[in-house]
Symmetry: C2
Subunit: 413 residues, 2 copies
């Protein structure tokens, strides 16, 4: 008796489920999942909002009840509130390949993009704000997450620069002696494409300009190597793969050699050499703290600090290996389950060009995602036609990947 198409599909599904079980059994990061608050949902939206690490609630309760409620103002010293921005920056540093003393946490990503770009233009120009004939161009990734582009336009306007939006691959072709600064995303928020941080940084430096990298979609998902590749400035959010919570404070990296020349457009009292001296003249503090602005947002910041505990004992190289294995496996499952042509993967197959998400294009993506979510598979939709599935290796399993592809196929059917 010949086999029916249906039973072939069932055998394929059984094989993939068995493979998922084996991969999960061999996964050195599998135990990390228990450090998060999760349920039966397949949560593939950690590239938008990371899941809740289990230790956050208790820590924040202590910050509110004992530190604020009991110690009140004394907590600025006694509970380490005042030094939180640089202390938590140093917790993020190893995840992005930075030595200590180069990262401060605070403000939103948008605000940090502004600080970084204006400061980069000033350093590139050496001195003065509007030198005649000097470097007067800011290059920006034309496919960037929109806020970076809007802020770059503002930075250009305020520093008398022209904004040049180009695709990342075309960046080297537009660099020259007029280039002041270049703002790039390490991974494209829509397609998940990973850009060549080392190569593009070298190209920008060869033109005598400075580069600002936006790490929102890579920090905590793969090694970044900021120091190794000589990146000048970088920014990133902490609520995606770093699981800091909704709208948790962003961070700013300023390479040590540039810190003395980092001339912030937002020189708040927290970046003063003597913040409690209350002096009318501004004198910038040394080091990464120069990137601070106003009073740090303590509740959100200390929630982030607690969230970073899940990284204890985790090597980011291991995270990257699992991320690639997860996205490879998910793409294989999609290929096996989803009728050919129904979706088009827009995330590159090549590992060197892939972040930690898989983006699938389909014309009815908005509706499809709604139905997926209704069936317990949570990704997200980006206009006009992209389904995004983010894979956070600390808590997503291979079984999750298989189930997501299976439910997607059923939904598309």
């Amino acid at each position: 008796m010949s086999e029916t198409p249906g039973s072939a599909a069932l055998r394929e599904e059984a094989a993939l489920r068995e493979e998922a079980a084996k991969l999960d059994a061999a996964d050195g990061l599998a135990a990390k999942r228990a450090e998060f608050v999760l349920d039966d949902t397949v949560y593939l939206d950690g590239n938008s909002l990371g899941a809740l690490p289990a230790g956050v609630a208790e820590r924040v309760a202590d910050v509110i009840g004992r530190q604020w409620g009991g110690l009140r103002i004394r907590s600025w010293d006694e509970s380490g509130w005042w030094t939180a921005p640089e202390r938590i920056g140093d917790r993020i540093a190893p995840l992005v390949g930075a030595a200590q003393g180069q990262i401060v946490v605070g403000d939103s990503t948008s605000v940090n993009v502004f600080k970084a770009l204006v400061a980069a233009v000033r350093i590139a120009r050496g001195s003065g704000d509007h030198p005649e004939g000097g470097r007067d161009e800011i290059v920006v990734d034309a496919t960037t997450f929109p806020t970076d582009g809007y802020i770059a336009e503002s930075a250009a306007r305020l520093t008398g620069c022209r904004l040049i939006p180009v695709a990342p691959a075309d960046v080297p072709g537009v660099l020259g002696e007029r280039t002041a600064a270049v703002l790039l995303n390490h991974a494209d928020y829509r397609t998940g494409r990973l850009h060549d941080l080392a190569g593009l940084t070298a190209a920008v430096h060869a033109a005598g300009a400075l580069v600002v990298w936006d790490l929102c979609h890579t920090a905590g998902a793969l090694p970044v190597g900021l120091d190794e590749h000589g990146v000048d400035l970088a920014v990133g959010c902490t609520y995606k793969y770093l699981n800091g919570g909704p709208g948790s404070p962003a961070y700013l990296y300023v390479r040590r050699e540039l810190q003395d020349r980092f001339d912030s457009p937002l020189p708040g009292w927290n970046s003063h050499a003597e913040p409690f001296g209350m002096r009318p003249e501004f004198e910038a503090v040394d080091g990464a703290r120069r990137g601070r602005v106003g009073t740090p947002d303590i509740l959100s910041m200390l929630a982030l600090e607690a969230a970073l505990d899940v990284w204890d004992g985790v090597r980011v190289e291991a995270v990257r290996a699992k991320s690639l294995a997860l996205t490879d496996f998910f793409l294989r499952c999609v290929e096996a389950y989803v009728p050919a042509g129904r979706v088009e993967p827009v995330t590159p197959r090549a590992h060197a060009e892939r972040g930690s998400q898989v983006a699938l294009r389909c014309p009815d993506a908005g509706d499809v995602m709604k139905r997926l979510i209704g069936q317990g598979v949570v990704g997200d939709y980006r206009a006009p036609d992209v389904l995004r599935f983010g894979f956070t290796p600390l808590y997503v399993s291979f079984a999750d990947a298989e189930r997501a592809a299976r439910v997607l196929a059923r939904t598309l059917d």
Copy 2:
């Protein structure tokens, strides 16, 4: 037998303590104290960090556990995260005399000063960034809290303006056709002096310029009357008399008539007309939301929202009446208890010139404050020689005021 000086002092103390008890018994706001987490400390530092409102811990636990932990990404819609900045702005509005739709919450005070000042300069100039011979001066309170001055200097530098620092009383004398914007504090952070918001606003308008008021030391302590006095823009923190928690998000007021011309130097995706359209071209949203920048910091923001519940049923005029009665009474107690000449009150006696704090100058202020805190009376010290005592009418009693003066006298003895 003639009375000894000691017994006269004891009688005076008994009389003041009795008066305090009567004033507390007649205080219509006295019951509000139970809505805060307090202990035996006399907490007179609410002008730096407001005490913890009792409802905050439970609300934040729900935000973390149920909204973030359970609903995760769905909370941006379902838990009202996305609209929090303008919703909470509308909660603050009645406290500062603003109609709905003119305030958004987010970022630090410093960042909001930057937005407000650059936008004010742009509106004052009408169009273009560097017109020849146009308005090119920013006037700033020379006695301002330092961060305002530093940020004003940056705003001036980036908009091609000259910064003119003068004492608030001298502002009218320097205004003219070159004035673009004026940044003023409603109350002086060091002396507690209240400035003439109505009169100075009118003077700035008469010169054709715009005024930005910093309300950090008045919002929640006295009526501000932003709409009534035609203020253009205003900023303030929420962690002093609004009790929002350490470093809780600040706010920005943009008068309705100016909103269409509010051209932010920080045009993040949250201020886009269609934030999820992910369009490369910036198009500003209408209304107060134009003051938003990046993703709002939800934990801190919703803690603030819970903290604002203590204002239910409270008229800010009643708060002002109690504030003046408290500071009057404290000054009387200081006069009665502290040897003449040992401290010099620098806060004006005239009610129209007094905020909600009392500042006393004494040469050894730093040491004195340390000893006061050791005895359970918490104020703070501002370099070089000022003792600050902030009176938050929602939770400070007349008995607190008497005890603070009594312990101060003992400490100074």
